[in-house]
């Protein structure tokens, strides 16, 4: 396959970026999208040009590092996968593919397609945990039975990989789905109840401080989430937030 690429190039956080055109021949269908970029980079290196920098690590859809906007969609045209799981068989010979970084005020570009997502870490640091020390002597794991459905729902929320596709997909660059997933994981478990009120308030406050936008319930985040994190989590977080603030 022959592919025409339009890729965002930006030297560093302070410089102005622009779209640059590349043509790549010999692309095979069973290449992953990132392997296609590897091939492009090999070509650029051999021509003495600087390769395109992009974030990636596990290349199996779980670490949440890869983060490309492909033809205007986070993680590309297929649903429920990350870029590293996308294969070139999803494209046709002669296609033009536009590749950009996540665009959000709270995700500044570091270089080319790489953005800074440490704002996500700071939201988690604000309360995304249960305050229990490592003692080796907590209660036995089976001492508190947890209804299977609750445990499964908590797990489903906890499968968020923190990639930021929800923010990139949102016209307001809101991080509600990301924040709500963590709040939900703990809100659904008995272990999470003790700190529930503080958790939701602190995490939401940090989310606002980082400059993420507001949620206007368009649901684009859920559609583009590679892990299918449900909008129900946002509803749950709103309930948690309301009850926390009413309680004071």
């Amino acid at each position: 396959m022959k592919i025409y690429l339009k890729i965002w190039r930006q030297k560093n956080a302070n410089s102005k970026g622009s779209m640059v055109d590349y043509t790549l021949e010999g692309v095979e269908e069973d290449m992953s999208f990132l392997e296609m970029l590897d091939v492009l980079n090999e070509e650029l290196i051999s021509k003495g040009e600087e390769p395109v920098e992009f974030d990636h690590d596990c290349r199996e859809g779980i670490c949440g590092t890869c983060s490309l906007m492909i033809n205007g969609r986070p993680h590309g045209p297929e649903s429920r996968i990350t870029v590293c799981q996308l294969h070139m068989r999803s494209f046709n010979d002669g296609d033009t593919i536009v590749i950009e970084p996540w665009r959000a005020k709270a995700f500044p570009v570091i270089k080319d397609l790489i953005v800074d997502r440490t704002s996500f870490d700071r939201i988690q640091q604000a309360g995304g945990y249960i305050s229990v020390n490592t003692s080796g002597r907590p209660v036995d794991a089976n001492a508190i039975p947890i209804e299977k459905e609750m445990a499964d729902n908590s797990f489903a929320a906890a499968t968020c990989i923190g990639c930021g596709a929800c923010v990139a997909a949102c016209k307001n660059a809101s991080a509600m789905l990301f924040t709500a997933a963590k709040v939900s994981q703990f809100a659904l478990l008995p272990q999470g109840q003790v700190e529930a009120a503080d958790r939701v308030q602190n995490m939401v406050q940090q989310m606002d401080l980082e400059g993420f936008g507001n949620c206007t319930n368009t649901g684009a985040c859920e559609v583009e989430c590679p892990k299918g994190i449900s909008l129900e989590n946002i509803a749950r977080m709103n309930r948690e937030y309301l009850s926390a603030t009413v309680k004071g």
Binding site: K11, N12, E28, D30, M31, E35, D38, V39, E42, I45, S46, G48, E50, P51, D55, H56, D57, C58, R59, E60, G61, I62, C63, G64, T65, E78, Q85, H87, R89, I110, D116, F120, D121, Q124, Q125, G128, Y129, I130, V132, T134, G136, R137, P138, V139, D140, A141, N142, I144, P145, E147, K148, A151, D152, S154, F155, T159, G162, Q185, L189, Q191
Partner: protein
């Protein structure tokens, strides 16, 4: 020759750890505030160690090359974590977990360490549940278990196919709590480039800020390396792209012995290689072997017809299929340990029975399980005489609930539906049992330098059992290292902060910048990946699943030559004082090119077959591994002497006081 003191406490096996904890020195809480610890790597071992050390009151700095601690590759572990809880009442115990692990490791690990691992395994589950890790549960609300290779009980706790993710997010959350309290300072997008020794003790590191290219000095009273394994030496592996040996290798060059480098795990169930462009391999969890049956065609002509696309696997009659694991190992069947399953797959493919285009794949088939589950479901739903299509549909739903995300991952990569046609799998490099030599306290041969998790060599011998890596990483990080490190640090309560303007830091930083300069100024002919792929080919072909003296000797020469070529001709574009992924890769590959040679030397010197190390010269008539306990019942710890080829071998004899050494049999 220096004597390797394992420091395993004396006394009965079951009392060793308790006795040790009672006898080692402690640091009082007020003094902990004056002690700094660096933790490199934030996976299960590093993340859990950092969180616990900070809880105890130490000042912790963590370093990871990823943009967030949450992205360490522990996150990709799928299947589960073992613990001797015996919730299933199937006769499990601490002793049985200990015994299975020693046997699974082919009697090449330390009794004391492994017993401790089994002992603290139960604490891990309690701890993680308390942290809100959402493990799978049964309808009664209690924790569910499943079975893994090499054992006859169900002791594996899991969270669908994302157990590593959930455990790592638990450790990350524990870290976040300490970051918020100011007890952990987290340095992300930072890479450790050297270890700094002052008066023979580990006193800090030199790190590179991967965003700005700035070289930084960080002092501490102790340095913990939790930097994972070195399987990317093979280029193609199930590791993440950034996994590297740099931190461990730098420590090795500064005096930390490297133990059993040739003990590598080749995991049997990975998605086969599809072409030359391939950048990494994807694992299909071992948990699939609970329900999947592994087979190849019985007849060569059928295998050929399948390879050429003339025959579909689903068309092959039951009697024309060779379920070779069930045939060779009736007692354990498809759940034999990984090394055994991998070699058996290679044996069949080498004999011409492989089923993909390149002949390097076998089938993992769920059709029997789908029908079995479907019939059970039909019965419990009160259906009378359901037809096959209904049974199949019900069965597929159950299999989806168990392994849905794995099946989806397979389908996305291979573009085939594994509910309808068997998966194709082939072994791939997955884990390294070898690593930095550590004593019972997890300290390397450099005072104050510790190694935890996959980075050390301690618990898995020559082969790791499934669901044991998560167990070891968390055992080291949550329950072992935070206490043993106090014994060493109790001498440091009056030391005061470690200054980073000393000549030792000057020199280490100079060496780091010189090396970067050298990488940037080579002739610039071939890319870093070019060398990495060539190294990988040598490793896979000559140091892979089956090894022999002739090829290992060739590998040693070829790797040394490739290393020379690399330093002369590698091409690193861009600049050193900015974000530069090629420079990052170059530094990592340079270290692999040294480790590769030591790896082959270690494999060459070990004239026996054990665990993942299979020497063709040493096998039984049936093709099983032939161990030599008389000559090789030791951990091989290599000391760096200026060049990998000059490395000096030290032996730690493995003493078995409680277990009788037997030929490992899964028949």
């Amino acid at each position: 020759m220096a004597v390797l003191d394992s420091k395993v406490p004396s006394g009965p096996l079951a009392d060793k750890w308790t006795k040790h904890k009672n006898e080692i020195d402690l640091v009082n809480p007020a003094n902990k505030r004056n002690i700094d610890i660096i933790v490199v790597g934030t996976g299960l071992a590093g993340g859990s160690a950092a969180a616990t050390l900070a809880e105890l009151g130490y000042n912790v700095k963590t370093f990871c090359y990823q943009d967030s601690p949450r992205r360490a590759h522990s996150i990709a572990a799928q299947g589960g974590v073992n613990a001797a809880k015996n919730y299933q009442g199937d006769g499990d115990s601490v002793y049985r977990l200990f015994y299975d692990t020693i046997k699974g490791g082919d009697y090449r690990s330390r009794e004391g360490n492994v017993y401790r691992l089994a002992e603290v395994s139960t604490n891990i589950i309690d701890q993680c549940v308390a942290q809100g890790v959402p493990f799978a549960r049964e309808y009664g609300g209690l924790l569910d278990n499943r079975s893994f290779g090499g054992v006859l009980v169900s002791r594996t706790f899991y969270a669908k196919g994302q157990t590593g993710q959930q455990l790592l997010l638990g450790a990350y959350a524990a870290m976040n709590r300490q970051i918020q309290r100011g007890k952990i300072k987290s340095y992300t997008r930072h890479e450790m480039l050297d270890l700094v020794l002052v008066d023979g003790k580990a006193r800090g590191i030199i790190a590179r800020n991967l965003v700005t290219g700035e070289i930084e000095r960080h002092g501490a009273h102790a340095v913990v390396l939790a930097t994972g394994g070195y399987g990317n030496l093979f280029f193609l592996s199930t590791y993440c792209m950034g996994a590297n040996v740099m931190a461990a290798w730098k420590a090795h060059k500064k005096g930390a012995f490297f133990a059993n480098p040739c003990f590598t795990q080749i995991h049997p169930t990975c998605i086969p290689v599809s072409g030359d462009h391939q950048s990494k391999l994807t694992l299909m969890s071992e948990s699939l072997r609970n329900d999947g049956r592994i087979w190849v065609p019985k007849k060569l002509e059928d295998a050929q017809a399948i390879r050429e696309g003339r025959l579909k696997p689903t068309e092959l009659a039951e009697e024309d299929r060779d379920y070779y694991l069930e045939r060779r190992y009736p007692a354990f069947g498809n759940l034999v340990p990984r090394d055994v399953a991998s070699r058996a797959a290679k044996e069949r493919c080498d004999a011409g029975y492989g089923v993909n285009k390149t002949g390097e794949a076998v089938y993992l088939d769920f059709s029997a399980a789908i029908m079995r589950y479907g019939r059970e479901k039909a019965l419990t739903s009160g259906m009378k005489n359901p037809d096959d299509a209904t049974v199949r549909k019900l069965g597929e739903e159950i299999v989806e609930a168990k392994y849905g995300n794995l099946f989806q991952m397979y389908e996305k990569i291979v573009d085939q539906n594994p509910y309808k046609t068997p998966m194709m799998i082939y072994p791939a490099v997955h884990y390294t049992m070898g690593g930095l030599w550590v004593d019972y306290n997890l300290m390397t041969t450099i005072p104050g330098c510790y190694a935890a998790g996959e980075a050390n060599f301690s618990d898995h011998g020559a082969n790791r059992l499934g669901a044991s890596a998560l167990m070891q990483g968390l055992a080291d990080g949550y329950f072992v290292l935070p206490y043993t490190i106090g014994d060493y640090l109790s001498d440091d309560i009056r030391t005061g902060p470690i200054a980073t303007d000393s000549p030792e830091f000057d020199e280490a930083e100079r060496n780091v910048t010189d090396r970067i300069q050298k990488l940037m100024s080579a002739n610039g002919i071939h890319s870093v990946d070019h060398y990495h792929k060539r190294l990988g080919k040598i490793m896979w072909n000559k140091c892979g699943m089956a090894r022999n003296a002739k090829e290992l000797k060739e590998a040693i020469g070829e790797i040394a030559e490739l290393r020379k070529d690399f330093w002369e001709n590698v091409k690193v574009p861009g600049s050193a004082d900015a974000k530069n992924q090629e420079l990052e890769k170059a530094g990592r590959v340079a270290d692999f090119l040294e480790l590769g040679e030591l790896f082959a030397m270690d494999a060459l010197h070990r004239n026996e077959s054990c665990g993942g190390h299979f020497r063709e010269e040493y096998q039984t008539e049936e093709g099983e591994a032939l161990r030599d306990d008389e000559h090789f019942k030791y951990a091989a710890a290599w000391e760096y002497r200026g060049d990998p080829s000059k490395s000096e071998l030290h032996k730690e004899d493995l003493v078995y006081e409680n277990i009788e050494l037997k030929t490992r049999s899964y028949k």
